[in-house]
Each structure stands twice: as C-alpha cells, then as structure tokens.
C-alpha cells in the first residue's frame, strides 16, 4: 500500500467517499462488526465529551481546552490499532487515542482543570504526558523507538503532531533520526488545515506533508483523515511495517479542525463560513454513521439512549473531578527530583512558616 500510495504520486488514500460509500473494496480494513460499532460509539463519546467541555469552559469550570471536533476518525482508528504495550506519544488533540491508551476522562478533566496529576495517566501504560511545546515530543518517540529496538521488544510508537508542528526543527530531526536508526515509530500528522489562525498554505510550500517523508527515506502516505476505514487500514499497515523492523512511517491524515483552536480562540476571525461548510460535508462521524446505516448496523433509539447515558456519565465524572482536593504545597516540590536538594526542602519549610504566620495574623 505504501508503494501504491507513495507520497510522491500525490494521491490521497480514501476507502469511502464523503457520503460513506465504500469506493475501494480491496482496501477495506479487516474489522469485526461489533468492533466497528464500538469504535463508532467511542467516537461519539469523545465528541459528546468535547461538546460538554466547551460548555463547562464557558461556565468557568475548566481552563483552556483544545477540542477534537472533526478529527475523531484519526483517534478512533489509532485506538483500534494500538496494542497494550505500544507507546502513545501525544500532541494535545487526540483525545480518542488517549482514552484508548488508558487515560480516563477524569484524568483529562483534571489536567485541563489545572491538576498535574491528570497528566500522569495513572491507569495507562507507555503513554507520555501531554506537553505543550509543539513538535518537541517527536524526538522522544524516536528515542523510545531506539529503546524498543535495542531491547528487541515487540512494540510500536504512535506519535502525534499537527500540521503546524511540521515546521519545527524537531519534526525534521526526529524523523531523520528515526529513519537513520530504523526504529518502529508511526508518525501521525493531523493536518487539520490550521495552526491556530495560520492556514496550511502559509505553513509550507510543499505539496503536502506526506511527501516530506521523501526527505527522510521513509514511506509516507496521505490519507483522508475523516475516512475511518482509510485511517484504520493505513495504521494497520504502518504498524505491521514497523513491527517487522522496517523502520518508521509518516502518515498525513488530512482533516479539518471543525472547532476553535482552543476555547480562547475565535475562528471566525480567520476563516470563512463557506470553508467550514465544505468540510462539514466530510465530517468523519457523519460518514461512518452513513456507512453503518447503510449496513443497518445502528439502532437510532439505542444510540440516543447511549448518548444520553454518555452525557450523564461525563457529567458525573466532571463533577467528580471538580471535587478533587486542591494540590497541597508539597506537591510543588515533591516530584522535582529523585534525590531532592536541601534547598528545595528549605524553601518549602520557609513557605510553611509564612503560611503559619499568615494564619495567626488574620
């Protein structure tokens, strides 16, 4: 498949059309019906959570949050392909993949409410914390890939970055190292057409992102990121390719950030309603739903019930997160070092003395 859709051929890989009709049977990924329905429901769950977080944010109950609208097929497909021991190296806009990796919605709420603990994914394995400096996580993925190869483990790294992130030097360095070292990393670029307000055409003059793979001597493929089946097929092939010891793969998932960059952003400033409407027609959930409907795999009533259940559950979890006790002072210090310098201990004690004074003087 990486030959057929070699990035230099400038063909985009699609399995279904905008209406959910399969246009390339031979590329249809293997997937059981119940898995497929689960995947769909997980995507609906993620979108429901997204919607609700936005409104929580408007109510001042959570801080800045980057919604996933429109990009759920990428995350849903990743969720299906990642094995328990595979690694997830996140950017910050792939919630569906986080949840599959073992993050809980409560973790995510806590993190965006401003608790470090949310970002440690206590129930997850092989999952780096989110960290904000764009593209800087990619060299970590290459390093993890090296460790996997060195230890001869059967693991693959899934590393995310956005279209904007491809302009950073770390994107270049990470892909180059991974290819020279031939390590098992699937680099997934979510090309959602924007880096905050900056449109993709102002990010690079290249014909796309997949084609950048040529610069590193690794396979690259441009996929319709709103086509669940195309994403799934690509990720399946990419992870198999990695597992066989062939080195890294670059996937450009072409999609659209339907929402704002974050809750502090207003996209009407920099893009048109028409553009948004064009992309609305390619919505990944809608397309998958159309497909499932055409196969009679969905039950409207059941789905409505599920969505209602999701809402209740999400709200319950959110309230639970809101009741998280405040982080104690010691948490500011405790995790800084394995072997904590005396200075830090002293700074904590001095601050506690101040707090005592404050207490007794108020």
């Amino acid at each position: 498949m990486f030959k057929e859709f070699d990035a230099t051929k400038k063909k985009i890989f699609r399995v279904m059309d905008d209406d959910g009709h399969i246009i390339s049977d031979k590329h249809m990924p293997l997937i059981e019906e119940n898995q497929l329905i689960d995947a769909y429901h997980n995507m609906v769950f993620a979108r429901t959570a997204d919607h609700m977080i936005i409104s929580y944010q408007r109510q001042g109950r959570i801080y800045t949050y980057p919604p996933n609208y429109g990009q759920e097929a990428i995350h849903g497909a990743t969720a299906m392909v990642m094995r328990p021991d595979d690694w997830l190296v996140p950017a910050f806009r792939e919630m569906g993949a986080w949840l599959a990796k073992g993050a809980t919605l409560k973790d995510i709420f806590l993190y965006f409410m401003g608790y470090e603990v949310g970002n440690t994914w206590p129930a997850a394995n092989h999952f780096l914390p989110i960290s904000v400096p764009i593209a800087s996580q990619l060299p970590h993925a290459a390093g993890i890939g090296y460790a996997i190869k060195y230890k001869k483990l059967d693991e693959v790294v899934f590393a995310f970055v956005g279209d904007g992130g491809t302009s950073e030097g770390d994107f270049h360095e990470a892909l180059n190292f991974a290819a020279v070292w031939k390590v098992p990393v699937v680099f997934i670029v979510q090309n959602n057409q924007f880096a905050i307000s900056v449109p993709f055409r102002m990010q690079t003059a290249s014909a796309g992102i997949a084609i950048k793979s040529v610069a590193y001597g690794m396979p690259g493929i441009q996929v319709d990121g709103n086509d669940f089946f195309a994403m799934l097929k690509t990720l399946q092939e990419a992870s198999a390719y990695c597992r066989e010891g062939n080195g890294p793969v670059l996937i450009e998932a072409v999609t659209y950030r339907k929402g704002a960059h974050t809750t502090s952003d207003d996209p009407t400033k920099y893009r048109s309603k028409e553009e948004e409407e064009t992309w609305e027609k390619k919505d990944p959930l809608k397309r998958l739903k159309n497909y499932l409907d055409s196969k009679n795999l969905l039950d409207e009533t059941e789905d409505r019930r599920l969505e209602e259940q999701y809402r209740l559950e999400i709200d319950r979890i959110f309230v639970e997160a809101e009741n998280q006790p405040a982080s104690p002072l010691e948490d500011v210090f405790k995790y800084m070092y394995a072997d904590m310098p005396d200075d830090l201990k002293k700074q904590q004690v001095e601050h506690e003395n101040f707090l005592q004074w404050k207490e007794s003087n108020s």
Binding site: Y63, T64, G114, S131, V132, G165, S167, D331, V332
Partner: protein
C-alpha cells in the same frame, strides 16, 4: 500630548503602530501575529493598516523566526518579532545566544542587530504548562543582549519605542498577567523612556524594595499595610534587567541599608542574586540586614490548581519586608 486610557496591550500596540508608521524598515511578525493580531491581540489591526508584507504570520518555528530576523537586521531591516509565550522561546535559544547576541561583536560593529524580541511572560493567568515562567535571568546573563520589562501601560509604550529605536538586540518581556489588568492615561503620540534606567516609584527610608513587571503592582498592594506598620518603603521599578541601573539601586540601598527583591523568577541563580551581589559590591558597609529575595520556589511553575502556592502574594511581600526591617 493628548492622553487616552490604555491597558498594556493597547499601549504596546500603539508603540508598534507609531514606529511602523514612521519607519518603513520595521517589520512585525511571528506566529498568529498577522491576521489574528496575536493570541493576546497585541498586534491587532496592524496588518490591515500596514499590509501583510510588514505585519505577518510566520510558520510555526521559533528558531527560524529569530534566525530570519537576524538576517533581516543584517540586511537593514528592523524586525520586531513575537514569541507566543515565554515557554516557547527555547527553540530559538541558539539563534538568540549564538547570533543575535554575538553578531555585532563578531563583525566588529559592522553588522548591528536592531531586533526586538517580544515575549509575553510570567504567571497568574491560569495557563497550561510552559506558558507561565519567568526566566529573565537566562537572557540577562547572555553577553550582548539587553532585557527590558515594563510594569505599566505607559512604561510599556515608552520602553518599547526605545527598544525599537535601539541598535542593540532587546528582549522585551511583557508581564501578561497585567496585560489588561492595569489601565491608565497614556500619551497617544510618540514618547520614549530610556533603557537602563530604574524608576523610584515611592521614595522611602527604611527599606529598598526592587521589583519589576507584574510584581510592582503586588508590592504596591502591600504598601498600605507596610505604612500602617510604620515601615517606609522605597519602591524601585527596575524596568531594565540588563544593563542594570546600579547607581539608582545602590544609592537607595546606601540610604535605607536594607534590600528586598521581589520577582516571579525562581530564587536561585536569578536576577535577585545579581542584585544582592551588586548591593555587596556597591553598598557593603551600609547593609544593616541580609538582603532578601522574595521570589518563587526553585521548581517548575505549577499548573493553575497549584499556582497559588507558587505565586508571590502581597502578604508574603509584607511578611518578608517587615522581617527584613526588624532584623
């Protein structure tokens, strides 16, 4: 001069506007700086007014933002670039230290670097990780750079105009916590405030308190209670971190015999240490109490739910000042 109520965002915008109008060699760019007018709206309206060749969005790559500015400056332009947040300057660190700070010296003065790097910095806005740090000492210690930090809208305007007109590279760090929190009358026309000069905000006799950026206001909040306690504070706004106005500081310390430094930066190896060293070098025999740093822990800035532990409060400022005065 006609005056207008401005917050710091308005004031910086006004400084950019005036300089763009005046000098065709000035270009303004960075991530989201053009169409959107910056994530803090500091450059709002400027692209419309001056065109996309002069005020524009760059690809997402800080090293190249700084590196291209260096090239532009070498070729006669005067770029004002924005780093979106303090935590995202680091990819540009090599360009800043190896070139921006050194090109003039390397070329024996043939190539000047009239570049201003605007950096929204500091805590207190409930931001994600990497958005809240105060690492001004990192830059202040780099030979070849100057570092300026305003504490009010008017200062921001006057200092930025000086920075843009300077032929030396200047890191202009904007305390984002007070971007919109302080409003005051600011002259609408061009005016400038000299770089390298501190400002005595309130004269006093018992203790010299040095602060800058958002911390000036926090010290001011503590002043009434300090007055109540009978403590006369000489509050100095440093304004420029490097070159430091040692004369003003030393004179004050020689008068008061006591020094308290208030900043958001981590305590160790920071600006505070340099000010204490300066106090020893310039006013040793006058010191009546150990100079005190009221600064942040040597830790990473906590996420919002822990930030109250970390941030310097007026109470803490009061507490430390009275301790120093009682010493």
């Amino acid at each position: 001069m006609s005056m207008k109520i401005m917050n710091m965002v308005n004031a910086i915008n006004s400084a950019l506007d005036i300089k763009l109008a005046e000098d065709p060699d000035i270009v303004v760019y960075g991530e989201d700086v053009g169409v959107e007018g910056g994530v803090f709206r500091v450059t709002e309206g400027l692209q419309l007014k001056y065109g996309a060749e002069r005020v524009f969005d760059s690809p997402l790559a800080e090293s190249a933002i700084a590196g291209t500015a260096i090239g532009m400056a070498a070729a006669g332009l005067r770029p004002v670039i924005e780093m979106q947040f303090c935590g995202f300057v680091y990819p540009a660190f090599n360009q800043i230290i190896s070139h921006l700070a050194r090109m003039r010296n390397r070329s024996r003065g043939r190539i000047e670097m009239p570049v201003v790097v605007r950096i929204p910095y500091g805590g207190g806005i409930n931001a994600l990780e990497h958005h809240s740090e105060s690492m001004e000492a990192l830059y202040a210690q780099i030979p070849g750079l100057k570092v300026v930090i305003p504490s009010t809208p008017a200062d921001a305007k006057g200092l930025l105009i000086s920075a843009i007109e300077s032929n030396d590279p200047i890191l202009f760090m904007e305390p984002k916590r007070i971007y919109r929190a302080i409003k005051q009358e600011v002259g609408e026309e061009k005016f400038s405030i000299p770089i390298g000069k501190a400002k005595i905000i309130t004269p006093g006799t018992d203790v010299t308190v040095v602060a800058y950026g958002a911390m000036v206001r926090e010290v001011q909040k503590a002043l009434p209670k300090l007055k109540e306690a009978g403590i006369s504070v000489e509050l100095i706004d440093l304004r420029t971190i490097y070159p430091m106005d040692k004369e003003t500081l030393a004179q004050s310390i020689r008068k008061t015999g006591r020094l308290v430094f208030v900043a958001e930066e981590p305590t160790s190896f920071g600006v505070g240490a340099e000010i204490i060293a300066m106090a020893n070098e310039e006013a040793f025999l006058y010191l009546q109490a150990p100079p005190k740093r009221v600064t942040a822990f040597d830790t990473i800035v906590p996420l919002p739910k822990g930030e109250h532990h970390y941030i310097i409060s007026p109470e803490k400022i009061f507490y430390e000042i009275q301790k120093t005065v009682k010493f």
